[in-house]
Symmetry: C2
Subunit: 90 residues, 2 copies
DNA sequence: TTCCTAAATAACAAAATTATGAACGACGTG
DNA sequence: CACGTCGTTCATAATTTTGTTATTTAGGAA
Protein backbone atom coordinates (compact mmCIF):
# COMPACT_ATOMS: atom_id res chain seq x y z
CA UNK A 1 0.00 0.00 0.00
CA UNK A 2 3.02 2.22 0.54
CA UNK A 3 3.82 1.92 -3.16
CA UNK A 4 0.33 3.07 -3.99
CA UNK A 5 0.51 6.23 -1.90
CA UNK A 6 3.93 7.00 -3.34
CA UNK A 7 2.58 6.51 -6.84
CA UNK A 8 -0.25 8.92 -6.17
CA UNK A 9 2.17 11.60 -4.99
CA UNK A 10 3.04 12.89 -8.46
CA UNK A 11 0.53 14.97 -10.45
CA UNK A 12 1.52 13.42 -13.77
CA UNK A 13 0.82 9.95 -12.44
CA UNK A 14 -2.56 11.02 -11.08
CA UNK A 15 -3.35 12.50 -14.48
CA UNK A 16 -2.40 9.21 -16.13
CA UNK A 17 -4.82 7.39 -13.85
CA UNK A 18 -7.53 9.90 -14.66
CA UNK A 19 -6.98 9.36 -18.39
CA UNK A 20 -7.04 5.59 -17.99
CA UNK A 21 -10.25 5.88 -16.03
CA UNK A 22 -11.99 6.82 -19.29
CA UNK A 23 -10.39 4.15 -21.41
CA UNK A 24 -7.27 2.03 -21.79
CA UNK A 25 -4.55 3.64 -23.86
CA UNK A 26 -1.17 2.91 -25.37
CA UNK A 27 1.95 4.58 -23.99
CA UNK A 28 2.07 6.74 -27.10
CA UNK A 29 -1.52 7.92 -26.74
CA UNK A 30 -0.89 8.79 -23.11
CA UNK A 31 2.26 10.64 -24.12
CA UNK A 32 0.21 12.94 -26.36
CA UNK A 33 -1.40 14.38 -23.24
CA UNK A 34 1.92 15.46 -21.75
CA UNK A 35 4.83 17.63 -22.80
CA UNK A 36 7.46 15.59 -20.98
CA UNK A 37 9.83 13.23 -22.78
CA UNK A 38 8.78 9.65 -23.44
CA UNK A 39 11.37 8.00 -21.19
CA UNK A 40 10.25 10.22 -18.31
CA UNK A 41 6.71 9.05 -18.85
CA UNK A 42 7.95 5.50 -19.11
CA UNK A 43 9.41 5.96 -15.64
CA UNK A 44 6.05 7.09 -14.34
CA UNK A 45 4.43 4.04 -15.92
CA UNK A 46 6.92 1.87 -14.07
CA UNK A 47 5.98 3.47 -10.74
CA UNK A 48 2.29 2.89 -11.42
CA UNK A 49 2.98 -0.69 -12.45
CA UNK A 50 5.08 -1.32 -9.34
CA UNK A 51 2.11 -0.12 -7.28
CA UNK A 52 -0.09 -2.42 -9.37
CA UNK A 53 -2.34 0.51 -10.18
CA UNK A 54 -2.07 -0.30 -13.88
CA UNK A 55 -1.58 -3.43 -15.91
CA UNK A 56 -0.15 -3.76 -19.40
CA UNK A 57 -1.01 -5.73 -22.45
CA UNK A 58 1.09 -5.88 -25.55
CA UNK A 59 -0.64 -5.55 -28.93
CA UNK A 60 1.99 -5.91 -31.59
CA UNK A 61 4.48 -3.10 -31.06
CA UNK A 62 2.23 -1.00 -28.88
CA UNK A 63 1.67 -1.53 -25.19
CA UNK A 64 -1.79 -0.87 -23.79
CA UNK A 65 -2.07 0.47 -20.28
CA UNK A 66 -5.19 -0.19 -18.32
CA UNK A 67 -6.34 0.89 -14.91
CA UNK A 68 -6.42 -1.78 -12.23
CA UNK A 69 -9.69 -0.89 -10.58
CA UNK A 70 -9.40 -3.42 -7.78
CA UNK A 71 -6.20 -1.85 -6.49
CA UNK A 72 -7.75 1.60 -6.84
CA UNK A 73 -10.59 0.39 -4.66
CA UNK A 74 -8.20 -1.09 -2.12
CA UNK A 75 -6.33 2.20 -1.98
CA UNK A 76 -9.57 4.08 -1.47
CA UNK A 77 -10.47 1.72 1.36
CA UNK A 78 -7.06 2.26 2.93
CA UNK A 79 -7.53 5.98 2.71
CA UNK A 80 -10.96 5.84 4.28
CA UNK A 81 -9.50 3.79 7.08
CA UNK A 82 -6.74 6.36 7.55
CA UNK A 83 -9.31 9.12 7.63
CA UNK A 84 -11.44 7.13 10.03
CA UNK A 85 -14.44 7.43 7.77
CA UNK A 86 -15.16 3.78 7.48
CA UNK A 87 -13.71 0.33 7.90
CA UNK A 88 -11.54 -0.99 10.74
CA UNK A 89 -11.02 1.25 13.74
CA UNK A 90 -7.22 0.98 13.88
CA UNK B 1 -4.53 19.07 -3.23
CA UNK B 2 -1.12 18.23 -4.61
CA UNK B 3 0.40 19.03 -1.23
CA UNK B 4 -2.02 16.61 0.38
CA UNK B 5 -1.09 13.69 -1.86
CA UNK B 6 2.59 14.43 -1.35
CA UNK B 7 2.07 14.53 2.41
CA UNK B 8 0.37 11.14 2.32
CA UNK B 9 3.30 9.59 0.46
CA UNK B 10 5.45 8.95 3.54
CA UNK B 11 4.54 6.15 5.98
CA UNK B 12 5.61 8.16 9.03
CA UNK B 13 3.27 10.97 8.07
CA UNK B 14 0.39 8.55 7.56
CA UNK B 15 1.13 7.09 10.98
CA UNK B 16 1.06 10.58 12.49
CA UNK B 17 -2.37 11.15 10.98
CA UNK B 18 -3.54 7.81 12.32
CA UNK B 19 -2.39 8.74 15.82
CA UNK B 20 -4.05 12.13 15.63
CA UNK B 21 -7.24 10.46 14.51
CA UNK B 22 -7.61 9.08 18.03
CA UNK B 23 -6.74 12.29 19.83
CA UNK B 24 -4.75 15.50 19.52
CA UNK B 25 -1.20 15.24 20.77
CA UNK B 26 1.86 17.36 21.46
CA UNK B 27 4.93 17.03 19.26
CA UNK B 28 6.69 15.27 22.13
CA UNK B 29 3.90 12.75 22.61
CA UNK B 30 3.91 12.00 18.91
CA UNK B 31 7.69 11.64 19.01
CA UNK B 32 7.37 8.85 21.58
CA UNK B 33 5.76 6.70 18.90
CA UNK B 34 8.75 6.94 16.58
CA UNK B 35 12.44 6.17 16.75
CA UNK B 36 13.47 8.97 14.42
CA UNK B 37 15.14 12.17 15.60
CA UNK B 38 13.06 15.16 16.65
CA UNK B 39 14.13 17.46 13.81
CA UNK B 40 13.16 14.79 11.30
CA UNK B 41 9.72 14.52 12.84
CA UNK B 42 9.47 18.28 12.94
CA UNK B 43 10.04 18.24 9.20
CA UNK B 44 7.20 15.78 8.74
CA UNK B 45 4.96 18.02 10.84
CA UNK B 46 5.81 20.91 8.55
CA UNK B 47 4.79 18.89 5.48
CA UNK B 48 1.48 17.97 7.09
CA UNK B 49 0.90 21.58 8.10
CA UNK B 50 1.71 22.84 4.60
CA UNK B 51 -0.92 20.42 3.29
CA UNK B 52 -3.28 21.77 5.95
CA UNK B 53 -3.88 18.22 7.15
CA UNK B 54 -3.06 19.29 10.70
CA UNK B 55 -3.39 22.46 12.71
CA UNK B 56 -1.38 23.53 15.74
CA UNK B 57 -2.18 25.18 19.01
CA UNK B 58 0.39 26.37 21.48
CA UNK B 59 -0.16 25.55 25.15
CA UNK B 60 2.70 27.05 27.08
CA UNK B 61 5.87 25.43 25.85
CA UNK B 62 4.18 22.49 24.19
CA UNK B 63 2.57 22.54 20.78
CA UNK B 64 -0.56 20.50 20.25
CA UNK B 65 -1.15 18.96 16.85
CA UNK B 66 -4.67 18.19 15.78
CA UNK B 67 -6.08 16.53 12.71
CA UNK B 68 -7.90 18.78 10.25
CA UNK B 69 -10.83 16.55 9.43
CA UNK B 70 -12.30 18.83 6.77
CA UNK B 71 -9.15 18.60 4.66
CA UNK B 72 -9.03 14.85 5.20
CA UNK B 73 -12.57 14.68 3.86
CA UNK B 74 -11.68 16.87 0.90
CA UNK B 75 -8.73 14.59 0.15
CA UNK B 76 -10.96 11.55 0.34
CA UNK B 77 -13.40 13.19 -2.06
CA UNK B 78 -10.54 14.00 -4.45
CA UNK B 79 -9.39 10.41 -4.30
CA UNK B 80 -12.88 9.07 -4.97
CA UNK B 81 -13.09 11.39 -7.93
CA UNK B 82 -9.73 10.14 -9.19
CA UNK B 83 -10.90 6.57 -8.81
CA UNK B 84 -14.17 7.39 -10.54
CA UNK B 85 -16.17 6.06 -7.63
CA UNK B 86 -18.18 9.16 -7.02
CA UNK B 87 -18.37 12.87 -7.66
CA UNK B 88 -17.67 14.79 -10.84
CA UNK B 89 -16.99 12.87 -14.02
CA UNK B 90 -13.77 14.63 -14.98
C1' DT C 1 17.32 -9.64 -43.60
C1' DT C 2 16.60 -4.73 -43.60
C1' DC C 3 13.83 -0.91 -42.35
C1' DC C 4 10.62 1.45 -39.49
C1' DT C 5 8.01 2.30 -35.40
C1' DA C 6 6.81 1.76 -30.33
C1' DA C 7 8.42 1.58 -26.00
C1' DA C 8 11.75 0.34 -22.49
C1' DT C 9 16.39 0.58 -20.64
C1' DA C 10 21.05 2.88 -19.79
C1' DA C 11 23.67 6.52 -18.24
C1' DC C 12 23.74 10.56 -16.27
C1' DA C 13 22.50 15.42 -14.16
C1' DA C 14 19.69 18.19 -11.32
C1' DA C 15 16.51 18.70 -7.77
C1' DA C 16 13.82 17.21 -3.93
C1' DT C 17 13.31 14.32 0.14
C1' DT C 18 14.76 12.36 4.34
C1' DA C 19 17.73 12.25 7.92
C1' DT C 20 21.04 13.89 11.63
C1' DG C 21 23.50 16.83 15.50
C1' DA C 22 24.10 21.51 16.89
C1' DA C 23 22.28 25.85 17.77
C1' DC C 24 18.38 28.80 18.62
C1' DG C 25 13.89 30.78 20.24
C1' DA C 26 9.78 30.63 23.23
C1' DC C 27 7.88 29.71 27.58
C1' DG C 28 7.34 28.87 32.58
C1' DT C 29 9.63 28.63 37.18
C1' DG C 30 12.74 29.90 40.91
C1' DC D 1 17.71 37.29 35.35
C1' DA D 2 19.23 32.38 35.01
C1' DC D 3 17.80 27.72 34.25
C1' DG D 4 15.45 23.81 32.16
C1' DT D 5 12.18 22.13 28.84
C1' DC D 6 9.87 21.89 24.38
C1' DG D 7 10.07 22.33 19.81
C1' DT D 8 11.84 24.44 15.66
C1' DT D 9 15.43 26.05 12.53
C1' DC D 10 20.21 25.71 10.70
C1' DA D 11 23.79 23.42 8.25
C1' DT D 12 24.87 19.48 6.14
C1' DA D 13 24.96 14.72 4.23
C1' DA D 14 22.94 10.68 2.02
C1' DT D 15 19.41 8.96 -0.67
C1' DT D 16 15.58 9.13 -3.88
C1' DT D 17 13.03 11.20 -7.44
C1' DT D 18 12.52 13.44 -11.70
C1' DG D 19 14.14 14.54 -15.87
C1' DT D 20 17.08 14.36 -20.10
C1' DT D 21 19.50 12.22 -24.43
C1' DA D 22 21.31 8.12 -26.38
C1' DT D 23 20.86 3.29 -26.98
C1' DT D 24 18.48 -1.03 -27.13
C1' DT D 25 14.80 -4.29 -27.51
C1' DA D 26 10.55 -6.02 -29.72
C1' DG D 27 7.45 -6.48 -33.43
C1' DG D 28 5.49 -5.72 -38.13
C1' DA D 29 6.21 -4.72 -43.05
C1' DA D 30 8.88 -4.62 -47.36
Amino acid sequence: MNDVFEALAHPVRREILKLLRKRSMSAGELAEHFTIAKPTLSGHFAVLKKADLVTTERQGTTIIYQLNMSVMEEALAAFMQLAGMKGKER
